[in-house]
Symmetry: C2
Subunit: 318 residues, 2 copies
């Protein structure tokens, strides 16, 4: 349950005193906010508190987390000259705080810790647009209009993701999740040609570490097969695709999903019935991780989340 923190009063209390990147840069605070949803909800794994853009921030790119908006870059990526700003990540120095946070968490947690990184396309979308977007027009124009520069950009971003995830696993993360949150906006032809190679560089670059690699996106119904082939062990399937149809496209891998998070605002009976519909479809088949199809809405009721976790546990633990 990614982004569960923002629905919790204990997280909001911390955010009143600290900026987003203060939380990211302090190992103790990162550990604290990573633990909050685990303690409150009883989920089966923790996911490192982070953001898609944190490796960019770590190498000195000027980015601000604007409340109610998202990450906003002072200088968006526009030309080949901007490549020079994307220097390689030196984990021991640039990510010392992240490594320390992972070490603290691995000691404190009773459940596995999942490492976090943004995938090259989604990182590029923020960097090229300068912030969140509804149509990713600049990103697509760069991808199709200057494929050479695009490939160079995605290759650098892939190196950042890969270095960050390797460092997290090195410090004790038991699995990783690569977030390509906005890749579902693409034509599958463009995904295959212009994005998949960079995602594969990240995922295949982790193969020797032997940890499960989860590959996440939304609106990715037509991309699921390729997202698996990029080197994932688990592929996220959002609620737009029935879980078994999605699994058929993913092939011989595991799947994660696929409850629509917007449903959490409906009465509890509806939430339980919708969870049951997914579990009934799965019917005990091994290799399914029950999860929401996207992040937890900020206004979700933590009691409903806890009840959902409990409900799924009671239905699946024998």
């Amino acid at each position: 349950m990614r982004q569960a923190g923002r629905s919790l009063p204990e997280f909001r209390a911390l955010r009143e005193r600290h900026s987003f990147f203060d939380l990211v840069r302090s190992p103790e605070l990162t550990a604290e906010v990573t633990l909050q949803p685990v303690q409150r909800l009883g989920v089966d794994a923790a996911i490192l508190f982070s953001d898609i853009v944190t490796p960019l921030q770590a190498i000195g790119i000027d980015v601000e987390m604007r409340s109610g908006v998202g990450p906003v870059f002072a200088h968006p990526f526009r030309t080949a000259a901007d490549l020079d700003r994307l220097r390689p990540l030196e984990p021991d120095t640039d990510l010392a705080h992240v490594i320390e946070a992972v070490r603290i968490l691995v000691k404190e947690l009773d459940v596995p810790l999942i490492g976090f990184a943004g995938a090259p396309f989604t990182m590029a979308s923020y960097l090229v647009e300068g912030g969140p977007s509804r149509d990713w027009a600049r990103t697509k124009a760069l991808m199709l209009g200057d494929p050479e520069l695009w490939r160079a950009l995605l290759d650098r971003l892939a190196s950042l993701s890969l270095a960050s995830l390797r460092a997290q696993v090195g410090a004790g993360a038991a699995a990783v999740q690569l977030f390509d949150s906005w890749v579902g906006a693409l034509d599958p032809h463009h995904y295959a040609e212009s994005v998949m190679p960079a995602s594969a560089k990240v995922l295949r670059g982790l193969a020797d570490l032997g940890v499960p690699r989860i590959h996440f996106g939304v609106s990715t119904g037509e991309l699921l097969g390729m997202m698996g082939k990029a080197g994932a062990d688990v592929v996220g399937v959002d609620w737009r695709t029935p879980i078994l149809d999605g699994w058929a496209r993913v092939g011989p891998l595991a799947v994660q999903g696929n409850l629509d998070p917007a449903i959490l605002g409906a009465p509890w009976e509806v939430v339980a019935r919708e969870a049951d519909r997914i579990l009934d479809a799965i019917d005990g088949r091994p290799g399914h991780i029950f999860n929401l199809g996207h992040g937890v809405p900020a206004d979700a009721d933590p009691d409903v989340l806890a009840r959902l976790v409990d409900h799924v546990h009671r239905r699946t633990q024998t």
Copy 2:
């Protein structure tokens, strides 16, 4: 090319002097802005200038078109008591201006006029959320939490859409397009259960008129088959689904699409190549309407749009 107007300087000039609903309420101005993209771009059909919420505005619901936001309702739909505000549409009085605009256009146009209406789900989403939304959480909570009220709401909205489209065809529109712009946010199970019957009421309710019925949405990869079965003659396929895959799901109907409008910002060679990729896939098979997969971006270059129309004409007219 829906929403082509907003990219044209002649439309912007009119909008500086008139509010959105002033344009909708004046038959002469509606006709003028409907004609603008036809005259400038040379497209093969015109689509009536309107909005998803105009039938609601026509029955006296308080809605404002806020610049850069979209339609915003003073009093969102919340309870069964709100049903009383959704009185039936009396086309001869409530839509006199629309009927008159259609009559003017049918006289002035050399190409067919396509009637416009929002589909029940998308109309409901604006009315329930009170405006545009990113997750449609209130809409989904109502749909799943109070299915009886939801059905009553969608039934009334279907009646509004149907009455509006019948009036437009009665005045001379040669085809209709039912816009379910946001329905792709749904789980297909919920679409089948809670939305498709209302869309079918609109589309099947037009069958006796004998005009082609186009059914449009985005992110609808998993819904295409049902959108056809709801009673459409043509189903829109957005760029997330390859056009032939989409057509296979649509079945023995025509398809419309599927160029990603975000691509219009790329260099012309890219736009032409991407259009060619769609036309190559179609390979002359009858029953394909070349179009964008969504509305024209406000910052699109009209010259690129005109060049694209010309390019498609040269490739398809023999």
